[in-house]
Structures are given as structure tokens and as C-alpha cells.
């Protein structure tokens, strides 16, 4: 193991709780009183090339926040973050799809949002369409798509965007069995190339089966980091058999 690809040093993330968005008027006359929530508390974490990491933890433990910090969608309140390579996070697959535009047009928009340039997308268009497997619907407007087709399309764009670090959030149940197998194969070929996959999920059995390194996150702190024994401890503490 050489230099880590992802390195978090003392990362803390606080959210300001207000119950609602404040008003500009209140801000100007100084009447807002913020309350803070610590989502991540001094997290230290190194992830190395070729690792497939699973993060488990109950709701509100900071799982999604950690992905957002790594993918630079959200800024840490304090601490130092180093990431080497291109990060693509799959947090919301359908986001950015426009219902009136065709599948092809939506691939272009979604790909650009994920940081691909026009040339790359055009070069990969056929591969993305093939992977999503939505046939002649590709030139139809998106509102004619089924839920599964939209998710597959979103996933196909993300996985073909050539990331070095692939972050998946609660993403396991996309598509049918055939699509799942295709996805798993693709993820494996990623890892063989020395890339990094981080999966966040409630489905602890899935994580236990597919990840070699498991991180247990709770209340914004890392309670366990290691192999399958982390899952055992986690289950014990939650009384799940």
C-alpha cells in the first residue's frame, strides 16, 4: 500500500439547523439564532488504490455526508481532504433528467453535469445506450420511460464517465437481475484497474458479501474499520442476528 487516494484528516462537518430557511429581513435585523448539528466529528480515514469499501451505519450517521465531502459537493467545516483522481458519485440517479427531452439529449446533459466533455460523451454514447439497454426508447422523451429505465440510464451515464473513484449511495437495487450482474462485473473491472469503489448502504448483508473493507459509522464517528468482523460487531450492537 502506497499513498492513499482518498485521505481525510480531522474532517468535521456541521450543519446549521433552523427548521426552515431564514429570511433576508431577519438576517439584516439580526434576529436569526442558528443551532448546530455535527454530522461528522473529526473523521480520519485513508482509502487506497483498488479498495472496495463499504460504509454501514444507521440513518443519520453521516454516511451520505461523507460521500458528499469526498466528491466535493459539500465543504467540510474544518479538517483537510485530499483526493487524487476523478470522483463520480451516484447519489441521485434521476437528478438532472428533463422529462421532455429524449434519452440521447438527457445523456448529454447528465454526462456534462458529471464532468465529461462533449467529445467524450459523443464517443461513449453508443456504449452508454447499450449498457442502459433501453432499445428504441432512446429517441423518445423521458416521460415515456419506466422508473427502471430512468435509473438504468442514470447509472449507465455514471459508470461510463470513467471515474477513478466511484461513490455509490444506496444504489444496489437498480434494475433487474441481469442488470445487477452487468453492474457487478463493471465494478469488478474497475477494481482490477486499481480504482476505488465506496458503497454506502443499509443492506449490511450485501456490504458484507461484496466489500473487503468495512467501515462502521455512527453519530459522525468511525466505530469500526476492518474486515467482516466489523459487520459482526455492528450486528451485535444493534441486536440483529
Amino acid at each position: 500500500m502506497n499513498k492513499p487516494v482518498i485521505s481525510l484528516r480531522n474532517i468535521t462537518k456541521e450543519y446549521v439547523l433552523l427548521g426552515h430557511r431564514p429570511t433576508l429581513i431577519e438576517q439584516i435585523i439580526g434576529r436569526s439564532r442558528p443551532e448546530k448539528l455535527v454530522a461528522l466529528n473529526r473523521i480520519n480515514l485513508d482509502i487506497f488504490k483498488g479498495q472496495k469499501v463499504g460504509i454501514v451505519g444507521p440513518n443519520g450517521s453521516g454516511k451520505t455526508t461523507i460521500l458528499k465531502i469526498i466528491s466535493d459537493i459539500s465543504q467540510p467545516t474544518s479538517g483537510e481532504l485530499k483526493v487524487i483522481g476523478k470522483v463520480v458519485s451516484v447519489i441521485d440517479l434521476e437528478a438532472g433528467f428533463h422529462p421532455d427531452l429524449s434519452g440521447r439529449e438527457n445523456i448529454m446533459i447528465n454526462g456534462m453535469v458529471l464532468g465529461m466533455n462533449k467529445k467524450e460523451i459523443n464517443a461513449k454514447m453508443d456504449e452508454i445506450i447499450g449498457f442502459a439497454d433501453i432499445g428504441r426508447f432512446i429517441d423518445e422523451p423521458l416521460f415515456t420511460y419506466s422508473k427502471g429505465m430512468k435509473l438504468r440510464l442514470g447509472f449507465a451515464v455514471a459508470i461510463n464517465s470513467d471515474p477513478d473513484i466511484f461513490l455509490l449511495d444506496e444504489m444496489i437495487a437498480v434494475g433487474d437481475e441481469e442488470f445487477k450482474i452487468k453492474t457487478a462485473k463493471r465494478v469488478d473491472s474497475f477494481l482490477k484497474k486499481g480504482k476505488v469503489v465506496v458503497i454506502v448502504s443499509h443492506l449490511i448483508d450485501f456490504i458484507s458479501k461484496s466489500c473487503e473493507r468495512i467501515i462502521w459509522l455512527e453519530n459522525g464517528e468511525i466505530l469500526g474499520d476492518g474486515g467482516k468482523e466489523v459487520i459482526k460487531n455492528y450486528k451485535k450492537s444493534k441486536n440483529i442476528s
Partner: protein, 265 residues
């Protein structure tokens, strides 16, 4: 559209990506708006024509204001006002509406604002060309000073983008910004010489009118159809300065806050 082949500007990958992204999102704005609309593009010209007849009728027949060719005079102003108000109406809530996109990736946020401005500019230019051709049929139109016209459009784009960045950045944090906008936009309509001529304002105080950059744009655009004073007046500098100021402030607020947008929505 290929920008990289132009020899004037050598673009690096990041700039190329930015321009492509802006282009794609602008195309999306334009396509999405008319995909399901029966009359399609016709709406963007029908709307100001209806407005022109209503407002024109009121002021021409019931008020003692007499301006030569008042309907045309009004129409030019309305085109520009519609560009401005519909841009801002779309831009103000854009980050809140696109919250899922903000949560998805770290793309350049300003594209969401600028693509709306670009799509509306596209509409404005088309209506303007149509109007020009229409008027040219029965009136001798002199195309005065293309350079000044370009200056007016730049002023309009800078002002609208700057104000748009400012308002949309504030709106994502403060929920009363959209109400403030709704209340102040109609006021802006009367602070711009759309239904009246800038000449009705006494000369010593006319510069105040030109603190509003839209005034300059309306006056310049009218000069194409009404052969009047087309030479640059020092008073117009106020408009350019204030448009630039709006842009600097807007961009600064946006830039300072855009990294944290995903935390607010």
C-alpha cells in the same frame, strides 16, 4: 458548435468544457420550453404584441401623452423588459428548483443562471430581427451604429446575469427573496423608460434614470427605429458603470457562497 477551431481564442480543456456545458444547457432551455407548446416560438412574439396593444391603447387614447409612432416605441421597450423580467423570474428560484442536481455533482453552478440568460437572449434577438424586418417593409430604417447596439446588448447581459447571480444566491439561503423580487419587479417597469420617453424627465435629474442599466438598453434599441440622438452621451456611462457594479457584487456573493449551495437545499 465548435469553439476550439477558432484561432482567436485558444481554449484549454476546462474552458472548452465550460463553454460546451453552457451551450448544451442553453439548448436544453430553448428546446424544453417549446417542445410541448402548440404555437412554439410564436409565443415569444405574441406575448409582447398583446402587451403592446393593451398598454398602448391605454396610453394613446386615455392619457394626454403624445409620442410619434407610440406603438412601435412601446414595443421595443416591452421586448427588452420581457427579456429582463422573464429571465429574473426564471433565475430567482433556479438553485432551489435544481436542488437534486446540486446534490449530484460539483459542476460549475453559474451555468444554471447563465444558460437562462442565454436562452432568453436568443429569443430577444429573434424577436428583434423579426421586428426589424417587419418595420423595414414600410418605413425607412437606418441601422445606426452597430457598435453602440452591441454595447447595449452587453450592458443588458451583464446587468441581468449579475442581478440573477445575486438574487438566486440569496434565494437559496433566504426564503423571502422571491417575494421581494415579486414586489420590486413591477416597480422596475416604471423606473425604465418603457411607456414614457427619457425626455420627459428633467435634464438635471435624468442621470438618475440611467442608474438603471435597462434605460440605456431601451434608449439605444429605440434609436434604431427612431432617428434621434445616436451619439454616445456621457450620461450613458452611468448605465455601464452600474451594470458592471451589479455584476461584480452579484458574482462576488455567488462565488463566496456557491460551494455551500448543496447544504442549504
Amino acid at each position: 458548435m465548435v469553439f476550439s477551431e477558432s484561432k482567436l481564442f485558444k481554449l484549454n480543456d476546462k474552458q472548452q468544457y465550460w463553454l460546451d456545458f453552457l451551450w448544451t444547457m442553453t439548448e436544453k432551455e430553448i428546446k424544453a420550453r417549446y417542445k410541448n407548446a402548440g404555437l412554439g416560438f410564436a409565443w415569444m412574439i405574441i406575448n409582447p404584441i398583446l402587451q403592446m396593444f393593451v398598454i398602448g391603447a391605454v396610453f394613446q387614447f386615455f392619457m394626454p401623452v403624445k409620442t410619434e409612432n407610440y406603438f412601435l416605441f412601446l414595443f421595443v421597450g416591452l421586448l427588452i423588459w420581457n427579456f429582463f423580467s422573464s429571465s429574473l423570474n426564471q433565475i430567482t428560484p433556479v438553485f432551489v428548483h435544481q436542488r437534486f442536481l446540486l446534490q449530484k455533482a460539483n459542476f460549475p453552478r453559474e451555468i444554471l443562471v447563465l444558460s437562462i440568460v442565454a436562452a432568453n437572449l436568443f429569443h430577444l434577438l429573434i424577436s428583434f430581427v423579426l421586428l426589424y424586418l417587419f418595420v423595414a417593409v414600410w418605413q425607412h430604417v437606418i441601422f445606426i451604429n452597430l457598435l453602440l447596439l452591441l454595447l447595449a446588448i452587453i450592458c443588458l447581459v451583464i446587468f441581468t446575469s449579475g442581478l440573477g447571480l445575486l438574487v438566486s444566491s440569496l434565494n437559496i439561503r433566504f426564503r423571502d427573496v422571491s417575494f421581494i423580487m415579486q414586489a420590486s419587479l413591477p416597480l422596475g417597469f416604471y423606473l425604465t423608460p418603457i411607456i414614457y420617453s427619457q425626455n420627459v424627465i428633467p435634464e438635471f435629474i435624468r442621470w438618475v434614470l440611467f442608474l438603471n442599466p435597462l434605460s440605456l438598453v431601451v434608449v439605444m434599441m429605440r434609436n434604431i427605429f427612431f432617428i434621434s440622438n445616436s451619439a454616445p452621451e456621457p450620461i450613458w456611462m452611468f448605465s455601464l458603470l452600474s451594470a458592471s457594479l451589479f455584476f461584480i457584487v452579484g458574482f462576488y456573493i455567488f462565488y463566496k457562497d456557491s460551494k455551500n449551495f448543496s447544504d442549504y437545499v
